[in-house]
Amino acid sequence: MVQPKKQKYLFLAFCLVPAFILFAIFTLYPLFSGLYYSFFDWSGSSSNKEFIGFDNYIKLFQDSIIPDTIKHDYFLVVTKIIGIMVLAMFFAVALTQLKIKEAPFYRIVFFFPNIMSVVVIGILWTFLYNPSLGLINSGLGYLGLEEWAKPWLGDEKWALPSIVLPAVWAGIGLFMLMLMGGIANISKSYYEAAKIDGASEWQQFWKITLPLVWPQIKVSILYIVITTLNGSFILVQVMTGGGPNNATHVMGSYLYQQAFKQYNFGYGATIGVMILILSLITVLFLQFLMRREKIEY
């Protein structure tokens, strides 16, 4: 391709500059100025922005709600990983290894909640949990377990676990598909050889399937961690708004409350910095923990 340098750069600029300018303005600049804002006491109007150094960070360490929000976030991370991975793995194996005719039907149905709006999922489940009308309490009554019925989202002890269920419900399909992709790549000859050696299906799962889909498992876990730490607050906001009595506040919903409800924008930014740091540390730590050499037979 013979073309003058100048023209090449002009074309390059045409391709890259508009997108990058908008990206810089609406993504990079806000992230960095978020860091900057965290050193200010600021209620939103430009006149009373006051530099206070690390005061917001000191406040962060003294705020008694913060440890709870962190705990709640990691509770969601752990329960979601367990719930989603166990079910997704079970369904992925069932739909690939056992020749079930209607497997595509299950695949299509299980994936659908992944593309539903969080608002729709949250409101639908809030109604399922409704103490008097909801399906869950009526279902328990139907099974003769009335004494288990409770105002799920209004109960300080049960509100947070109740949020896990819709999150798992909405998440499984995607991870099931990722694991199915991994399983499809495993050569059939391994299973045949294992069968000849008399390995049970259970042994085949532990010795062949699980190690060979490890890359997909790893990606799935990291993805759940990132999306939960960066986005769990949306479901929380829709379903409980952080209540009852802060029992479901996660870091993001607390940030929203501090910044956009109580106009502590500087402190909100500090919470945002904490979310950023914690999610980076968690991802790096998990990558270290799960570094396991790729297994090849």
Partner: protein
């Protein structure tokens, strides 16, 4: 013989959890559809059975009392402008990163990709004030731009992988025939990437149609509400008015376009999402 009986039993056994999960996924959604046809009295009397008659009163209520039509229109505008803007920005960038040799192309790609993993919630506080300064706060156009930029990394990521599958020889022969780089980009590469463009656009449309939190922060007046905000509003009101039927009707309005897209593009959507997730 004994073995095959056992296998048949196993097959049936394995179907039980699959069927249970199918019910768990579908029943709440069906229930929402059924509820949208029931009067409030009927919802209280018979919350999870079939409706006595299929009345459209709830939709009418949502339309007249809560101006759902305005919200639907706003959501449509945000979705369309957002999706088009994303493409306009992402296609040339993806092409340049994938096909033109220049210093820093790897770094640029990494910057875009890392943005997918960073919690944007930190950026929303400054973004709020930035939009206010630019007169784009509480504006459908402002929200569309924010949406487009937020999906830029994902779109660039998917489009580069699609563009990389186009044989280079096509571009080279077009260049020899005297086509300018702009011509190559718009007349050769763009049509050949159509499959990727469609995938990305569907994903972005669903994303924008569904989005809630940025709309919550960046929109304020009711006439600017997107559908997600209108539903949230109806839901909060329903705690007091008990207008559950209207709430169900608004949920149905929100979910029907997504169901239609899913029925048509099921494979593309599933593929697009799994590929987007595997980036890590």
């Amino acid at each position: 013989m004994k073995r095959s009986v056992g296998q048949i039993m196993g097959r049936t056994g394995i179907r039980i959890p699959l069927i249970l999960w199918t019910v768990a996924v579908l029943y709440p959604i069906f229930w929402m559809f059924l509820g949208s046809f029931k009067s409030n009295a009927e919802i209280y009397r018979n919350p999870w059975g079939l409706p006595e008659s299929f009345s459209l009163e709830n939709f009418n209520q949502a339309w007249t009392n809560y101006n759902i039509d305005v919200s639907v229109f706003n959501s449509l505008i945000v979705t369309v402008i957002g999706a088009i803007l994303t493409l306009v920005l992402a296609i040339p960038t993806a092409y340049a990163i994938e096909r033109i040799n220049f210093r820093g192309s790897k770094i640029l790609f990494t910057v875009y990709i890392s943005a997918m993993m960073i919690p944007m919630v930190l950026g929303w506080i400054p973004l709020f004030f930035l939009l206010a300064e630019l007169n784009l706060l509480d504006s459908i156009l402002g929200l569309s731009i924010v949406y487009a930029v937020s999906q830029l990394p994902f779109s660039i990521f998917v489009l580069t992988s699609f563009i990389s599958t186009i044989p280079k020889s096509l571009e080279e022969s077009a260049a020899i025939d005297g086509l300018s780089p702009y011509g190559i980009l718009f007349k050769i590469v763009t049509p050949l990437t159509m499959s990727g463009i469609i995938t990305v656009t569907i994903m972005n449309c669903i994303q924008f149609w569904n989005e809630y939190f940025m709309a919550l922060i960046f929109l304020q007046t009711e006439t600017n509400y997107t559908l997600a905000l209108a539903i949230d509003y109806i839901s909060n009101e329903a705690q007091y008015t008990n207008a559950w039927g209207t709430l169900f009707a608004s949920l149905v309005i929100a979910i029907v376009p997504v169901i239609i897209l899913y029925i048509i593009f099921q494979r593309r959507i599933a593929k697009g999402m799994t590929e987007g997730a595997i980036k890590g």
